[in-house]
């Protein structure tokens, strides 16, 4: 590590920076990440224990304690809080309790990540209760809205011509709507917005020094504009790809449905087509994967060779996801923060 966790803490306002709070060191990013992961994981274990209440078709249950990630995202950097929290759910509840559901986890991670990130960006002043209220609801709205869309997409893709099956679209929509409303009320309002409004202002200024950071200053908001757009474009691209693939596959299946009557006498034909197209898809996927892996191997090897020559290693990003939107520190900036840090180390605790 080029810089110790203490080096750039308390970049006080006398350091002339036009906008934004002090940059986090990589250790501090890791701290926010781990804190968010641990707390949300624990909160999820607690929710696992809370029993559900079944009233007719409506299940009254606490999906998650949304106030925990909201508070962390409001007080610290939203990006690292948002990256950590859903991982906590996966690690603590799904992996340790043996409930890991493979690809489904990825979908849940992305939904939750987006929800917490947007909610954390909404909060500019962690003491403003109105902003915390909005953030608490936003997490659940985004997460549950996306999951409802995914559920409906599953029905649409999974069932042949689902929109023509009598009664199916309405009933799925009805159940999803009920689930959404219940989640918004219980997880969003009672265990999201209201506790966040109570806790975040009380923790503000107390919890940040424990991680060696300055509290978020409303006068120096996070430079989310440029950072946010980068991440957001990436995410939008990814989501539209997913949507495209979903639409594409359902198109394929639709076509098979149309073709089928022509081939119904030729017994092997349909089977053959499915087999060939499946093999083709797998082949294309395999080729793309191998190329990607090979490219990244080459990249890593190059990186490995580089490291010897690099005099000041720039901060290493925690995850590949964060790499893109992250503005790299230049050497000069690094030196500047280190100087500023040494002046102020006496302030800490």
């Amino acid at each position: 590590m080029a810089d110790s966790p203490r080096s750039s803490e308390h970049l006080s306002s006398d350091v002339t920076r036009r906008s934004g709070p002090p940059e986090l060191t990589s250790a501090q990013k890791l701290m926010v990440f781990v804190l968010s992961m641990t707390l949300f994981g624990l909160a999820n274990i607690v929710t696992e224990v809370i029993p559900d209440l079944q009233v007719g078709p409506v299940t009254l249950k606490v999906s998650y304690l949304a106030f925990v990630p909201v508070v962390i995202a409001a007080l610290f950097h939203p990006l690292y809080a948002a990256l950590g929290a859903p991982l906590g759910e996966i690690v603590f509840v799904d992996l340790l309790m043996g409930d890991f559901s493979g690809i489904g986890e990825l979908e849940g991670y992305l939904q939750m990540f987006l929800g917490i990130y947007v909610a954390g960006c909404l909060v500019r002043n962690p003491r403003s209760r109105a902003q915390l209220f909005a953030a608490g609801l936003t997490v659940v709205v985004i997460d549950k809205m996306l999951s409802a869309i995914v559920d409906i997409a599953k029905v649409w893709v999974g069932v042949d011509d689902a929109e023509f099956v009598p009664g199916l679209p309405q009933s799925i929509l009805l159940l999803e709507g009920i689930g959404f409303a219940v989640a918004l009320l219980i997880s969003g309002l009672l265990f999201g917005a209201l506790p966040a409004m109570a806790l975040a202002p009380r923790l503000y200024g107390k919890i940040e020094p424990l991680l060696g950071m300055a509290p978020r200053d409303p006068r120096h908001p996070l430079p989310l504009a440029e950072r946010g757009t980068g991440a957001f474009i990436l995410l939008a691209l990814f989501l539209s790809f997913v949507a495209m693939i979903a639409a594409f596959t359902s198109d394929i299946f639709g076509n098979f449905g149309v073709w089928e009557p022509d081939f119904i006498e030729q017994y092997g034909a349909r089977f053959l087509w499915i087999g060939v197209s499946a093999a083709l898809i797998v082949l294309v996927a395999a080729v793309v994967t191998v190329r990607f892996v090979a490219a990244s191997r080459r990249g890593r090897a190059a990186q490995g060779r580089d490291t010897g020559t690099r005099s000041t290693a720039p901060e290493a990003p925690e995850t590949p996801d964060t790499r893109a939107p992250e503005p790299r520190k230049t050497g000069a900036q690094n030196a500047g923060t280190r100087n500023a840090g040494t002046r102020n180390t006496g302030e800490r605790e």
Partner: protein, 276 residues
């Protein structure tokens, strides 16, 4: 009566959770290379979406159910899964009937349920028996972010400490609070009290965890943790223990044969859901 039940239940739940997390797991897939187990799971996660033929889906479902039995999935998880699926399908069925569905609706629902159930069973068979750290190594070798594997290791070690601490904090709250004189209609006062205690318990917990996190992360970074996680050499050393033997290859080949057999069966006896 209340005292007894509380004393038993909280302690019992805690122990039960820890047992679920740390019990030694075994079974068919537990000894296999995690990368091949993930591959095995992916086959069953992808294939069901390629067909609308209920016979094929039923055959795939049977294969996955057999795998679940061979993987010795616990009765608790299996029971929750079965109840969840039955209840969910009943509600959709009821709602569909309410909106005027008929036999095609039922068949469509059977198709959907079979698809989702097959995928869930496959994930249970693959991941319940697998040791979490092994699974995270497998994911790491498939180029998952290094943070995932760190999270698993960290969570695996911190879980008992965290649960103990949470329990202590909640007990402290209960000791300091006056007991409820009146539980209210349907015990709503007790529910509100529990919920507020839960939320309030997170205040000290967040502060304590923040402190502990800083200690951990500083200790890790002193040893160059982030750098080692990103560096190819560190990755290679960590993943060196992953080795595939011929049983792993046999697993994948056998699975592919079974999938092919399912499709052949579906070809011989086709049964279609949806609108023809």
């Amino acid at each position: 009566m209340r005292k007894e039940r509380d004393g038993i239940s909280v302690e019992w739940v805690k122990l039960e959770l820890l047992r679920t997390a740390y019990a030694t797991r075994g079974g068919m897939l537990a000894a296999r290379d995690p990368r091949f187990v993930i591959g095995w799971y992916l086959i069953f996660a992808v294939v069901p979406w390629f067909t609308h033929n209920i016979t094929v889906l039923a055959a795939l479902f049977t294969v996955c159910a057999a795998a679940v039995v061979l993987s010795r999935v616990g009765p608790l998880i299996l029971g929750l899964f079965v109840i969840g699926f039955v209840v969910e399908s009943l509600y959709v069925l009821f709602a569909a009937w309410f909106f005027g569905g008929d036999l095609t609706t039922v068949l469509a629902l059977v198709e959907l349920t079979l698809k989702l159930a097959t995928i869930s069973l496959a994930s249970m068979a693959a991941f319940v028996s697998l040791d979490p750290e092994k699974l995270s190594d497998g994911l790491l070798s498939l180029h998952a972010p290094a943070m995932l594997s760190f999270g698993v290791s960290y969570g695996y070690r911190m879980l008992p400490v965290l649960m103990e601490e949470f329990h202590t904090v909640v007990d402290g709250h209960r000791l300091r609070a006056a007991p409820l004189t009146d539980k209210g209609f349907l015990g709503w006062r007790a529910v509100v009290r529990t919920a507020t205690t839960l939320v309030q318990a997170f205040y000290p917990l967040m502060l304590n965890t923040a402190k502990r996190t800083r200690t951990t992360v500083e200790a890790l970074e002193t040893k160059g943790f982030t750098y080692a996680a990103e560096h190819p050499d560190g990755r290679r050393i960590r993943l060196a223990h992953l080795r595939a033997d011929r049983w792993d290859h046999l697993l994948i080949i056998g699975t592919l044969l079974l999938v092919a057999a399912s499709f052949a069966l579906g070809q011989a006896y086709p049964l279609h859901g949806g609108v023809r």
